[in-house]
Every structure is written in structure tokens, then in C-alpha cells.
């Protein structure tokens, strides 16, 4: 009697396990398939494009084409790098100082100030971009790197302050206090003691902000035309009046995604924290 019950339990366990594996396989398929399909498409000739087999003669022509005239995707790569790089270089130092103040000092209106900075990340980008579009048009700054860097700071800075405060809260304060007692100024302490200790956190935050800016689309769509077009807008240029050049879109898509895959794998453990502001560790 107990033998058959044990057998039934074992059988049920097997079924549960099979269902579990099936679900995980489906999840794996759903996650990976679009990426794999894009990667395959990038190496296809236009005639093989809608061939649903994986046996085709791979070609590097698409990558050659997107870097050549008239597409010159290299310019978009440069624009994306410059815009994301400058945004991070401006935002991270400012955010580190502010995060330090929020982490170490008590002050009047601290709660309200911190709250305001963090709440701004919920503002829809489309409401921010309207005044900037009009301003940049008047100043002749449309279609420039500077315009994109300015608006991207709006997205990146609140995240950076939030993330960095989390990292700084976790750094012990003993050595700081010892240095202060020894007569070091607060700024020296920040530069010589705090920054080196929190450096991994600073790097993670910088990478996170770089990814956000690199993938940003709305600002670039509205504020650029030719000279300052970034990669996410650049790929939409392959949808021409003669039709969508999917093989070129895929090649450019691989180009824009691979560096982000690498960067996000490096900071994977902290990625979650970035978006949820330490609500989930």
C-alpha cells in the first residue's frame, strides 16, 4: 500500500519536473529567439531574408553596406559614443557629490530635496522635450551633441544620485572620521578616501547610465536630423520608401546591442538595484 503511494508520489514529482523544464525551455526560447533571429538576419543576403531555414550562405556584406555611403552608420556610432560618454562624465561627478551629502549629512529639507530629485525620473520624457525643442530651435542647437547631452542629463542624474547613495550608505565611515580628526578637509577626505572605496559602485553607476543614454530614442528622434543622429534613430533610417531593408536593420541592431550585452553582463548583479533604487537588493 505504502509502496504504491510512494510510486505515485515519485511519478507526480516526475510530471512536475517535466512541466517545469518545459516552461523553462519555453522561457529560454522566448528570450533568446528574437536575439538569435536578428543575429542570423544580419548575415543573410536579401534573397535569403524570408527564408525560414537556418541554412544559408552567410555574408558580411550587410556590415560593409551600413558603414558605406549613403548609410555611414559609423557616424551614428560616433554620435552615440560621444553623447553617452559626455552625459556620464558630467552626471557622475555631480551625482557622487550630491549622493555623499545625502548619505552623510543631516540637513533641512533633505527629505523633500531627495524626494524631488528621485521623483523626476517618473516624469515622461515627452513633456520634458517640448520646451527643450523650442529652446534649442531658438538657439540653433537642434541636431547637436550638446542638445542631446543636456536632455539626457535629465534621465540619468536622478538614477545616478539614487544608486550612488545606496553604494555610499554601504561604505563604513570610520576611516573618514579618523582622517577628519587628523585635520584633513572634507573635500580631501571625499577625494582620497571615499571615492577610492566606493569606486566599484561609481563604475557600475556609470555603466548603467551609459546604457540608458546609449539606448535613448525619444530625445534623439525629436532633437536630431542628420549630424547628431544616434544609433537607435539611425536604425529607423533603414525603413526607406522603397521598403524596409531588414538585413541592414539587423546588422545595425547587432552593432548597437553587442556592446550593451557586454556592459550589462558586467554589472548584472547591480542592474536590478539601479532601476528599483535599492528597494530590492
Amino acid at each position: 500500500m505504502s509502496g504504491t503511494r510512494a510510486a505515485a508520489a515519485r511519478r507526480r514529482k516526475l510530471v512536475v519536473k517535466a512541466v517545469e523544464s518545459a516552461i523553462l525551455l519555453l522561457a529560454l526560447f522566448l528570450i533568446l529567439f528574437p536575439i538569435v533571429w536578428m543575429a542570423l538576419t544580419a548575415f543573410k543576403r536579401p534573397v535569403d531574408l524570408f527564408d525560414l531555414t537556418v541554412t544559408f550562405t552567410p555574408t558580411l556584406d550587410n556590415f560593409r553596406t551600413i558603414f558605406a555611403a549613403p548609410w555611414n552608420i559609423g557616424a551614428a556610432v560616433w554620435n552615440s559614443t560621444v553623447v553617452a560618454g559626455l552625459t556620464v562624465l558630467i552626471s557622475i561627478p555631480c551625482s557622487t557629490l550630491a549622493a555623499y551629502a545625502f548619505s552623510r549629512f543631516e540637513m533641512r529639507f533633505k527629505g523633500a530635496l531627495f524626494f524631488t530629485i528621485l521623483a523626476t525620473q517618473f516624469i515622461p520624457a515627452v513633456v520634458v522635450v517640448l520646451p527643450f525643442y523650442l529652446l534649442f530651435r531658438d538657439l540653433g542647437l537642434l541636431d547637436t551633441h550638446l542638445a542631446l547631452v543636456i536632455v539626457n542629463l535629465a534621465i540619468v542624474t536622478p538614477f545616478a544620485v539614487w544608486m550612488l547613495k545606496g553604494f555610499l550608505d554601504a561604505v563604513p565611515t570610520e576611516s573618514e572620521e579618523a582622517a577628519l580628526v587628523d585635520g584633513a578637509t572634507r573635500l580631501r577626505v571625499i577625494l582620497d578616501i571615499v571615492v577610492p572605496m566606493v569606486w566599484p559602485g561609481v563604475l557600475v553607476t556609470a555603466v548603467f547610465c551609459f546604457i540608458l543614454t546609449w539606448n535613448e530614442f525619444l530625445f534623439a528622434l525629436i532633437l536630431t536630423r542628420d549630424d547628431a543622429v544616434t544609433l537607435p534613430v539611425g536604425i529607423t533610417r533603414f525603413r526607406t520608401e522603397r521598403g524596409d531593408l531588414w538585413e541592414l536593420i539587423a546588422a545595425a541592431g547587432i552593432l548597437i546591442s553587442i556592446p550593451m550585452f557586454l556592459l550589462s553582463s558586467v554589472i548584472q548583479r547591480h542592474f536590478v538595484r539601479g532601476m528599483t533604487g535599492g528597494a530590492v537588493k
Binding site: 533568446l32 528574437p34 525560414l52 557629490l97 515622461p124
Partner: protein, 293 residues
């Protein structure tokens, strides 16, 4: 310099950045939303017209009401799908196993893909003639063969949800996994020893403890679903008709197709008001925890 003053100096650069890049444009948009300003007629702002734009939007603009409805449907389906899938997947992935660690390893990938590219890729894969997903759906369910997914109002909204969920479910799974790993194991084990079934443990012990994390996931996803814009542009273009024109996309259309800055600002502010409401709720939720501000 004394710490007393220094602390404000330290905050100043970041505060100025936020003030200049977010608070200033918000204020300008708010003022503009009370003015009549069409760029096609005048390059300078027109006269103040009170709350006319808001009244028009809420009572007399079928496009706005349509966008509100589209946004509500999108948010409802998207958030439900994301929370349910992320929770289910996270609960499965908590265990050890080859498939489990493989899945955990790829969870981060979709989130690194630019949303604009996600949209364009899904447009390719749902191409009516030979898109791979169109083909797959047609093979699995014969009456879907050759179905024009992006030509149908309901189906195209679902494809839009699918593309957004593709990017967010794996990420939110990581968030829930983070929450699960922070839970103490003892209560679950105690319940099991007391003879509770796996389902009872899940329902009575794990889920209640996980509720704060699920709230974070739900609110954050709601915010990002309300703001979702990139895939509308690259996947559906707001269509067919206006069936996938969300509020964010409507603001963009009013501002940069019809060049009506006043009305666009008003609609943008209605969207902003909803988001600020959610933001306050969210911040209260997470800042209440120790270690917050």
C-alpha cells in the same frame, strides 16, 4: 569650509542639473499648456486661454479619449502579464538546475536591447508575408496562417504588449528573484514541517512576504508602461488607425506633426499628473524602509 555649508555646496551641481533639465521644462510646459500656440501660425507663444486645452481634451477630443483608452488597455494587460510571468518564472528559477542557471544567465539580455530596436525587430518578425512569428503562429494554430497581425487593432496592441513584455519580464524576474533571496527560509520550512502542501506554503507564507517586492514591480511597470513610447514609433506607428496610439505617442503627434504646442503641453501634463501620483505612492512605499532617506 564648514560641513554646515559644504553639504549644500555638494548638492548644488546635481540639484542644478535636475532643476535645469527637468523642473524648468516641466514649468514651461505647464505655462504653455494654458496658451494658444501653434507653430504653424506663430513662432512666438500666443495668448493665454485659461484651461481651454484641458477642457477640450477631457470633454471634446475623440483622439484624446481614444489614447486614454488605448493606454489604459496597454497598461492593464502589460502590467498583469509582467507581474504574473515574472513571479512565476522567479519561483521556478529559485531552484537549482542546469536549465535554471542557463535561464538566469540570459535574463539580463533583453533589457540591454534598445526599445526602439525591440520594436523594429518585432515588426520584422510579425511581418505579414514571411515574418518568423507569423509563420510560427500559423504553423501551431492553422487558422492563424497568413494572419496580418499588425493590420488588426486588437492584435497589434497585443503584439505591442508582447514586445514590451519581452524586454521587461526577464528584468522583473531578476527583481523578484532578488526579493525571494532576501526572504528568510525558516517560515517556509516550518510550514512544510507542519504538513502544509507546496501550494499552501506559497499562498500563505511566501506570497505575503513577497508582497512589498511585487508592489514595487507593479508600480514601476505601470510607470514605464505609461511612458512607453519607442516601440509605438518603431513597431506600430500608432496604428492601424489609432488603435495603438498611446498618450505619450499622442503628445508627440500633436506637437511634431500638427505643431500645436499649447494643446500638446496640456495632454502631456495630464499624463504627467498620473505619473506624479504614482511616483509619490511609489516613493512612500520604498522610502518607508530602513536605509531609505
Amino acid at each position: 569650509m564648514q560641513d554646515r555649508r559644504l553639504k549644500y555646496v555638494l548638492i548644488l551641481p546635481a540639484a542644478l542639473l535636475v532643476l535645469g533639465t527637468t523642473i524648468w521644462p516641466l514649468a514651461v510646459s505647464l505655462v504653455t499648456s494654458f496658451r494658444d500656440w501653434r507653430l504653424t501660425r506663430s513662432l512666438t507663444p500666443g495668448p493665454f486661454i485659461g484651461s481651454e486645452h484641458y477642457v477640450t481634451a477631457l470633454t471634446d477630443d475623440p483622439d484624446f479619449l481614444n489614447a486614454l483608452q488605448v493606454t489604459a488597455s496597454f497598461v492593464a494587460i502589460d502590467v498583469t502579464l509582467t507581474v504574473v510571468c515574472a513571479l512565476g518564472l522567479a519561483l521556478l528559477l529559485r531552484r537549482a538546475g542546469v536549465l535554471h542557471s542557463l535561464t538566469r544567465a540570459v535574463l539580463i539580455l533583453p533589457f540591454a536591447v534598445s526599445p526602439a530596436l525591440v520594436g523594429i525587430s518585432f515588426r520584422f518578425m510579425f511581418n505579414a508575408e514571411m515574418g518568423v512569428f507569423t509563420w510560427l503562429a500559423g504553423t501551431l494554430v492553422p487558422w492563424l496562417k497568413g494572419y496580418v497581425w499588425l493590420g488588426d487593432p486588437v492584435a497589434s496592441l497585443l503584439v505591442l504588449v508582447f514586445s514590451d513584455a519581452w524586454r521587461w519580464v526577464p528584468y522583473m524576474t531578476l527583481v523578484v528573484l532578488g526579493g525571494l533571496s532576501a526572504l528568510p527560509r525558516e517560515p517556509e520550512e516550518a510550514a512544510r514541517i507542519d504538513g502544509a502542501s507546496e501550494w499552501q506554503v506559497l499562498r500563505d507564507v511566501t506570497l505575503p512576504a513577497l508582497l512589498p517586492v511585487l508592489a514595487v514591480v507593479a508600480i514601476l511597470k505601470t510607470v514605464f508602461a505609461l511612458k512607453m513610447f519607442d516601440q509605438v514609433v518603431t513597431l506600430t506607428g500608432g496604428g492601424p488607425g489609432q488603435s495603438t496610439t498611446t498618450l505619450a505617442y499622442l503628445v508627440y503627434s500633436i506637437a511634431f506633426r500638427w505643431y500645436d504646442m499649447g494643446y500638446a503641453s496640456a495632454v502631456a501634463w495630464i499624463l504627467t499628473a498620473m505619473l506624479v501620483f504614482l511616483a509619490v505612492w511609489y516613493m512612500k512605499l520604498i522610502l518607508r524602509k530602513p536605509g531609505g532617506a
